[in-house]
């Protein structure tokens, strides 16, 4: 009897440990990022992060302003989201409500295939094919800009957003739709006025998760956005995102330098942004009881 209780206790503890591991990892990452970022706040001071320039390698004066990187990430994320939302939501509605089973079986694997394209490949495609296209289409001096980055990131986010939105739409209770149809509403009216509003929290959460993916994506933006650290909200300008900055510069810095801790400050900000987005998505899901 005693042994049995001991065994159960052990099993329970193991399971608790497993479940809390990821939590622990997140906390440790936060601590580590903070530890490496704090020296910057102490020595050059937080005011240096409020600069309007990011110019970490200079013979004159190094600048570590986060503003251009924040606007860079913002431009790319907003552009990508604006492109993602209509495509994904309409796509999800079609797949969930209108498509015949055969079509669904055909469409879904292709959408999932899109999610599996490595980002470097997409980036190279962007550099060689999409950037010249964007340049010609909008008559720009260069195709290396926020818009090209946003377009490619939308390609990466669409599969995620479609599949979660589709789940949300499919899980709308049948009786809602049936009631609507019984009252004489057409198929289209039912979809637009009943099903989609009922699934809206799930769709919003899907978009937020997609945004989280977009903010964190690195390789694609590094290859096609031109990486000029400008303070701009214009998607036709070159932008430098937080992720690309960390990826491009972390390899080069000498450990413990100001530049090194400045990059960790960028990392902390980036992590906070994705954290807030994910948290927001979860709260939306929870509030509407779509997550158990």
């Amino acid at each position: 009897m005693a042994q049995r209780r001991w065994q159960e206790k052990a099993i329970q503890l193991t399971l608790v440990a497993m479940a809390t591991t990821s939590l622990l990892v997140v906390v440790l990452i936060f601590l580590f990022l903070g530890k490496e970022a704090i020296p910057f706040l102490k020595d050059p001071g937080i005011a240096r992060l409020l600069d309007r320039q990011w110019m970490p390698v200079s013979f004159q004066q190094e600048h570590f302003g986060l503003l251009p990187l924040l606007t860079g990430s913002l431009v790319v994320t907003l552009t990508a989201t604006l492109i993602t939302v209509p495509f994904s939501v309409l796509g999800a509605i079609y797949i969930a409500e209108i498509a015949r089973p055969l079509e669904r079986e055909f469409l879904k694997p292709f959408i999932e295939l899109l999610a599996s394209i490595p980002s470097v490949v997409l980036g190279f495609f962007g550099l060689v094919v999409l950037a010249p296209l964007v340049k010609a289409l909008f008559g720009l001096p260069s195709g290396l800009n926020g818009l090209t980055g946003g377009l490619l990131l939308a390609l990466m986010a669409i599969p995620t957003v479609i599949s979660i939105s589709e789940d949300a739409i499919t899980s709308v209770p049948r009786h809602l739709k049936q009631a609507s149809l019984a009252l004489g509403a057409s198929e289209l009216q039912t979809i637009l006025r009943v099903t989609v509003p009922a699934a809206l929290p799930g769709i919003i959460a899907a978009v937020m998760l997609g945004m989280g993916r977009i903010v964190g994506e690195t390789m694609v933006v590094m290859m096609v956005t031109g990486n000029a650290a400008l303070v701009t909200l214009n998607p036709f300008q070159s932008v430098r995102t937080m992720t690309a900055t960390i990826a491009a510069e972390m390899g080069e810095v000498s450990f413990g330098s100001i530049h090194y801790s400045a990059l960790f400050c960028v990392g902390v900000v980036l992590m906070l942004v994705t954290f807030v987005l994910n948290l927001g998505a979860q709260r939306v899901l929870k509030r509407y009881g779509m997550m158990t």
Binding site: Q53, M55, P56, V57, S58, F59, Q60, P68, V120, G123, F124, L127, V128, A131, P132, K135, P141, S142, G143, L144, T218, M219, M222, M223, G226, N227, A228, A229, L230, S238, R240, A247, A248, E249, M250, G251, E252, V253, S254, F255, G256, S257
Partner: protein
């Protein structure tokens, strides 16, 4: 990462040169363990990756030692040397005072060996009628003082600035030599590798970029190399092995290998090979300039 065959190396080198993925160069933190297996790791300059991997391949053909080469930038290589994660660091710039000080702290004595010379070619789109510029003009273009080709005798077209990432030794060298230590214009697009610079110059009529002589030669007719005057009254000189060697082409530099202390054992074998006649023939074959 532990024992790469020469073919794989060339592929890897091509990949690194293609996208200069900073992330790619991370995984060899385990090199300390691989040293026992007669492998030699070289890390550093993206400019030198092509040269290093060709050296590694032909050295590996006659020696039991396997040489693995990764890029990431000169700064990355020097950091790796200071952290003891690479045997040899390939650098396209000299070690900085900051890094020497850090080396002293870590009890490492960087030993510099000049193995080749390199000219930096200034390249423009093939349709650009400009054939020559002075150092001062190129500097003014890159600092943003000159923004249109008509200001240097070309067509009325905005100049699209293309630069390497700030982690590149070439970036720092160009800043010191051509920009006179001034900051790059914020409009400059920082491309993640030499191939990306070539690709972007090919795509944009108004573009100007700088790449190693070897890469300019390889790019052939896709880009146009322009002649450079060291000062207003001086003759314009095209970059070539001869003009780099006699120092008449102004944008040239030495390429270095750094070792910890004087080279010994297999490190010495490799360095001797690079400086020997076979190694120096490879220097010429890959588009660089021999030291002897």
């Amino acid at each position: 990462m532990i024992c790469l065959r020469p073919r794989t190396l060339v592929l890897l080198a091509a990949l690194v040169a293609l996208a200069a993925l900073p992330g790619c160069s991370r995984p060899d933190k385990t090199d300390a363990t691989s040293k026992a297996k007669q492998t030699l790791t070289i890390k550093g300059s993206d400019t030198m990756v092509h040269l290093m991997s060709t050296w590694a391949e032909s050295f590996g053909a006659t020696s039991p030692t396997q040489v693995s080469v990764t890029g990431g930038g000169s700064g990355t290589g020097i950091a790796a040397l200071l952290n003891g994660t690479t045997d040899i660091c390939a650098a396209s710039r000299q070690i900085e005072d900051k890094e020497t000080a850090l080396a002293k702290q870590k009890n490492i004595t960087p030993n510099e060996i000049t193995v080749a010379l390199d000219g930096i070619a200034v390249v423009v789109h093939p349709d650009n009628p400009i054939t020559e510029l002075s150092l001062e003009q190129i500097g003014a273009i890159y600092t943003g003082a000159i923004g249109n080709w008509k200001e240097v005798g070309g067509p009325d077209q905005p100049i699209l600035l293309l630069s390497r990432e700030s982690s590149s030794g070439t970036y720092v060298f160009f800043q010191e030599k051509v920009l006179n230590k001034k900051d790059y214009s914020q409009q400059a697009r920082l491309m993640p590798g030499t191939s990306a610079v070539v690709q972007a110059v090919t795509a944009d009529r108004g573009a100007i970029g700088y790449v190693g002589l070897g890469y300019a030669k390889e790019a052939g007719n896709k880009v146009k190399t322009i002649a450079v005057r060291s000062a207003a009254g001086q003759p314009a000189v095209m970059p070539s092995p001869a003009t780099v060697k006699d120092a008449s082409y102004p944008v040239a530099r030495a390429l270095y290998l750094y070792t910890n202390g004087a080279p010994q054992g297999k490190v010495k074998e490799f360095v001797d090979f690079c400086l020997g006649s076979a190694g120096q023939k490879i220097v010429a074959d890959t588009g660089y300039v021999q030291v002897h």
